[in-house]
Symmetry: C2
Subunit: 251 residues, 2 copies
C-alpha cells in the first residue's frame, strides 16, 4: 500500500492506517487474510491491529468479515465542521449551482486520490446518496486539474501507479499522453472531461490556490454530456474559473 518512506517512525500506527485504507476501499467486508494480503502485512500483525481498532469502534466485524466502524464517523464530522476550506466552499458552490443548474463540487487531494468535501446538487439531482468522502481517482475528471499541479516527483509517482489506463469511454492513455494533457491543462487553467470516469458524464474543473499560490482544491461542475453541451463549455470555463478564484480569495 504505502511505500516505506524512510524517516517515518511510528510503524505500527502507519500500518494501522494501511489496514484502514484497505477497509475504506472495499465495497464490502473483507476477511482477515485478505486484508493482510492487500495491506502487505503479516496476518498476526493485521489481526492485532484489527482488534485494537475494533476495541475503539474504528472497525466492526461479524463472524468472518471486517468492515469500517461507526467510530470513523466522528473524524469526518470534525473535518467537515472545522475545515476552513469546507466553510468557504459552501456559499461558492451554492452560487455556482444556481447559476449553472449543474451539480457543483469541491475536491481536495489526499495522497494519490481526491475526495469530495462539499457538493450542491444542480436542478436535476441524480442521486440521493451523499458522496462526501468518496475516494476518487486523481487522473480522471476533475482530478486532472489537481494532477496538473503536482510536483514532478509526485506526478511521476502517480503515473507509475495508474498509467497506462483506459477511460470509461474507452480512450487509451499512455503516460506521455497524460503528461501532455496535464501540461495543456496547466496552461489553460481548466480541465474538461468527457466520458472519463462515467460514460455520458462531462465536467469542467478549475484549480483553487491558497495564499501561497499552492493548488489545494478544485471546483467542478458536472452533468450529462447533454446538460454540459459543447457550446456551453466556453462560458462554463469562465464561470467555473471565477468560482475557483472566488474561493481562493476566501482562504
Amino acid at each position: 500500500m504505502s511505500d516505506k518512506q524512510p524517516g517515518n517512525n511510528m510503524r505500527s500506527l502507519d500500518r494501522a492506517i494501511d489496514v484502514l485504507e484497505v477497509l475504506e476501499d472495499a465495497p464490502r467486508g473483507l476477511r482477515l487474510t485478505e486484508i493482510a494480503r492487500r495491506a502487505g502485512l503479516h496476518v498476526a500483525t493485521t489481526l492485532r491491529i484489527l482488534n485494537a481498532l475494533e476495541a475503539r469502534g474504528r472497525v466492526e466485524r461479524d463472524e468472518t468479515h471486517y468492515r469500517a466502524g461507526v467510530g470513523l464517523l466522528f473524524g469526518a464530522h470534525a473535518y467537515l465542521t472545522t475545515s476552513p476550506l469546507v466553510a468557504a466552499a459552501r456559499p461558492v458552490l451554492q452560487d455556482l449551482a444556481s447559476e449553472t443548474g449543474l451539480t457543483s463540487s469541491v475536491f481536495v487531494r489526499t495522497g494519490y486520490s481526491r475526495a469530495v468535501i462539499a457538493r450542491v446538487e444542480g436542478s436535476n439531482p441524480l442521486r440521493y446518496e451523499l458522496p462526501i468522502g468518496e475516494r476518487l481517482p486523481l487522473h480522471l475528471g476533475a482530478g486532472k486539474i489537481l494532477a496538473a499541479h503536482l510536483s514532478d516527483a509526485d506526478r511521476d509517482e502517480l503515473l507509475s501507479r495508474v498509467a497506462p489506463f483506459v477511460t470509461a469511454g474507452g480512450r487509451e492513455m499512455t503516460g506521455e499522453d497524460f503528461t501532455a494533457e496535464l501540461d495543456e491543462i496547466r496552461g489553460s487553467g481548466i480541465a474538461v472531461s468527457t466520458d472519463e470516469r462515467i460514460i455520458g458524464g462531462r465536467s469542467v474543473a478549475a484549480a483553487v490556490h491558497d495564499r501561497d499560490g499552492a493548488v489545494t482544491a478544485a471546483v467542478q461542475v458536472a452533468g450529462t454530456d447533454e446538460s454540459v453541451s459543447e457550446d456551453r463549455l466556453k462560458a462554463l470555463a469562465i464561470t467555473v474559473r471565477n468560482a475557483a478564484d472566488q474561493l481562493s480569495r476566501r482562504l
Copy 2:
C-alpha cells in the same frame, strides 16, 4: 481519555486514537500542548503521532493549530456504504418521517457516546447542516434508551463519567435518579426526553435489537415540544416502537 485497559496491546495505536478523539471533540483547531494535555500524553509522543497522522492526511495543521484532516472522510464514507444497519435504517426512517412528519434518526452507541448514522428530516427541516457523525451524549435524549441497556459495569462507568449532571432545561439529576429512570425506560421500552439536550426540544426513542437480542441501535423521532405535543406521545411511542421492531427484523 481512555483508561488503560489491561490486556490491550498496541499502545502507540491506542494513543493515536486518543489523539484523534481529542481532535474530533474540538470545535476548532488545537495547539500541540493542549492536545497532549487533553490526551494525557507526553508532548513529544503527541508530536510524533500528529506527524504520522498528518503524513497520511488524517490530520491537518496550519502554523500553530492542528485539526481533523480530509483523510478522515474516507472512513465515514466506507462505514455509511458498507454497514448493514445503515442500509436497513434508511427505508424505515423514510416511512417514520413521512408518517409522523418529524425528523427521524437512528443512533448507534460507541464507547460512552452515540452517533447519528442515518436521518430523514421531517416536514420542517430545521437546519441544513447534516449532523451525521456528530458525537452526542449517552445520558441525554435518545441516548438514554441505549444507556438503559448497558451492562452494569458499563452503566457504572457511564455514571462515573457524567453524573451528577444538569439537563439543558435545568433539571438536576444524581446518579440514583438516573439509574432509576433507566430502569423505568427499560421496563417501558421507550425513552421520552424533554429539554434535555436542547431547550424546547422533545424526542421519543425506542431500542433496536440484533438477532441475539442485544441492543445495537436506537430509533428516534424528534421535534419541538409543540410538534411533539403531550397528547401525541402515546401514539408516537407505539409508532416509534414499531419502527424500531421493523428495523430489528431487517438485521
